[in-house]
Symmetry: C2
DNA sequence: GGGAATGTCTACCACTTGGTAAGTGATTGG
DNA sequence: CCAATCACTTACCAAGTGGTAGACATTCCC
């Protein structure tokens, strides 16, 4: 009996409110970093959206760069669990590809900031990019292993798994997120057109991966 | 002998120097907008690189937005002539796809800012994105027509040409430019690896377009 | 209850941003 | 040859930028 009263497990009321504040900061920052971009986002702006002052943000995250790191970690974790959840009920083989593509389109619709952050960080380069790469390495390893197994089984055209992965990644993310490119070819991103786009993408991917 | 000294045809020495200055400004701005990004670029920065003052830039281009427009127009023109030159000597059919892909990889190597600007503008959205879309519409129309002809000839899997175009675009640009993604899967972008990547991409594309 | 720790705010700071105003010397056309 | 135009400069400016210092109230633990 070290403590008499259960202090609301893991920290008490204050700690809970602190965690909530940090959560809100991360969410708002993710939104802005992934949407407008990192440099284009000002701490004052984010703070104003939250109804706090910039100094509150800087109390929890000592610098803008540190905030970016935290946002990256949170976004990475979200991505990993998203794919985990999507792949858990999926069967083997092509079903898994479909599950992942469905997830990405879902994200593009519901949480575009997440995919936006990916692209933004890729543009920023190290150290942010390195951090993301490290956080998402699990996914890369898993995907590569999948491709290798399917190649061995003769279900996927034999080739360098890494290069195949990059191609597939580029295609999926591009088709899911490049709204302006879609507009350029005359496609307005409605819900219905998005569904068609996803189907078309799957046909494209299947054709590309399976080979002739 | 009307004049002793050739007045450098079409406007005189001053006009020539003006054009040269504007050229240098555009080049430097393109470099920075395409590399670091639009918001992350300051006019002072660009001016310093050029050895002039920011006010010189603002004399030729009345605002940062106007400068972006000019940069976009110049970059678009460069892109169009690049593809024109690449496609001129190319034969029909698949050779044309190969020529375009080769061009994009060449650009990724020699003028990465050009492709970077494309992506940056796509992120910025209208009005910049609209401007690019308008400028590059020629290419879109041409590519779509190509796909339609090839579909009719039975050389390309039948499907919505617009969607196929978006998929192919995403794949090519992604594979050519996503350096950080490459690093994430353990590929350092050397010259040799780039050549392999291009070949692998062509196999991917061929498989995806032709179908089984 | 009281001192300590904590979370937030007010008040700044030095610096940078895009943009304006007013000049200055070279180039130009008449 | 001279006045006008032109390309460019120096000198500013108001509005932000990320970040620091210190006051203040609340919550915590003993």
């Amino acid at each position: 009996m070290a403590t008499t009263v259960e202090p609301t497990r893991s920290g008490g009321a204050r700690a809970a409110r602190t965690r909530e504040t940090e959560d809100r900061i991360l969410a708002a920052a993710l939104q802005s970093f992934g949407g407008r971009g990192f440099e284009a986002t000002s701490l004052d702006q984010v703070a104003a959206e939250l109804g706090v002052t910039k100094q509150t943000i800087l109390y929890h995250y000592p610098s803008k760069a540190a905030l970016l790191d935290a946002v990256i970690d949170r976004a990475s974790a979200d991505l990993v669990t998203t794919f985990d959840d999507a792949l858990a009920p999926a069967g083997p083989g092509w079903e898994r590809v479909e599950a992942v593509v469905r997830s990405v389109f879902r994200l593009a619709l519901r949480r575009p900031e997440l995919l936006g952050l990916l692209r933004e960080v890729s543009r920023l380069g190290p150290p942010a990019a390195t951090r993301v790469a490290h956080n998402l390495d699990v996914l890369v390893v898993r995907a590569r292993a999948f491709l290798e197994v399917e190649m061995d089984a003769g279900n996927v055209r034999r080739s360098d798994p890494n290069l195949l992965l990059v191609s597939a990644y580029s295609t999926v993310i591009g088709v899911a997120t490049e709204v302006e490119v879609l507009r350029a070819v005359g496609i307005e991103p409605t819900l219905r057109s998005t569904v068609r786009r996803r189907q078309e993408l799957l046909a494209f991917l299947r054709s590309a991966l399976v080979g002739s």
